[in-house]
Symmetry: C2
Subunit: 198 residues, 2 copies
């Protein structure tokens, strides 16, 4: 299982504040939609060994389960509708119980801190950083959990949390990448067993 | 200069047939918009050494010039508006003269065949194919022109044209990728000098 945690700093938790005609205006929800696209889509197929967590407002964690997803389409607008549908179900998420508004989509009340603790035993936690270890020095057989940020850098509190939880800081290359592009590169590294299998 | 040619088989040449509220319905224009995003965006920067050609209906070639672009944003909807604006200028493209509806965006009357001839001297022409040579066996110092297709495979006529023009068939990995993801992987290969520079 490959996992990607993407932090959305500015996306509103109120679905009524999300206009599908202006995703950049909805706290750059377009960025998170492209991350979902990169995480799940293959040509004419979905990756079923992938789980994505969107952390919205450090208050809700929306989980997308590749093996269960049925209504994900590649375009940003329809993906945003799925996220908005999850936010609309947020009041049904009570305590640690998640709501499940559509197949493969779950929302629960959870901060980044709680989420990092809950995935701690799943596999190595990896953050991406320009000064990190080159990805080619990392064992591709591990099933990592990557933590990425939207259009903002990690803030101080997140940086401290990640310093406490992350097993590795990794560099994917000399150019700073958008989060969705980073997901694509990470997948390719793992797909090819570290650029050895084509 | 890195170049990407992306063939849009179903995108209408009439801008009035493009609704920004339904990009998948506009011949999967969403796919081409994501290709532009992958080709040009770095985190907080644009790649100025990149040129993208969208071939629409085998009738028009829309050129995006990284060093000149001013109004490209990452989200699909605003990118689609730029493409629609180019299509709206198509009647000003007369003979081999291109129209230039916005900074860095040009449209001219040209088929795929003519375009492949016009870029023949720019660098090696590369197509992506699951049975192609692993990308890691390719010299990353070349400045290639990649040819990709939208959600459809290359048709028979395109396949014949590419067989005549392409210098290499390359595989980026064992999983079949969307065109925009393939562009991201190709960039990363070149950025890292063949996975050697981080």
């Amino acid at each position: 299982m490959r996992q990607f945690i993407v932090i959305g700093h500015d996306v509103p938790t109120d679905p009524d504040a999300v206009s599908l005609a202006d995703l950049p205006g909805a706290g750059r929800l377009d960025v998170l939609c492209r991350c979902l696209n990169s995480a799940f889509f293959l040509s004419h197929d979905l990756r079923d060994n992938v789980r994505v967590w969107l952390v919205v407002g450090d208050e809700y964690a929306i989980r997308f389960e590749g093996s269960e997803l049925r209504r994900l389409n590649p375009d940003e607008r329809s993906t945003a509708a799925l996220v908005r549908g999850a936010l609309a179900a947020r009041e049904k998420a009570i305590g640690s119980m998640a709501a499940n508004p559509s197949p493969g989509v779950y929302i629960r009340t959870q901060s980044l801190s709680g989420l990092l603790e809950s995935v701690a035993d799943d596999g190595p936690l990896v953050t991406l950083h320009e000064d990190g270890q080159p990805v080619v020095d990392i064992d591709p057989s591990a099933e990592p959990t990557f933590v990425l940020s939207d259009h903002h850098s990690f803030d101080d509190a997140e940086t401290a949390l990640l310093a406490a939880h992350a097993d590795r800081r990794v560099s994917l290359g000399p150019e700073p990448l958008h989060a969705d592009h980073a997901i694509t590169v990470a997948h390719n590294y793992l797909d090819t067993d570290g650029y050895n299998r084509y």
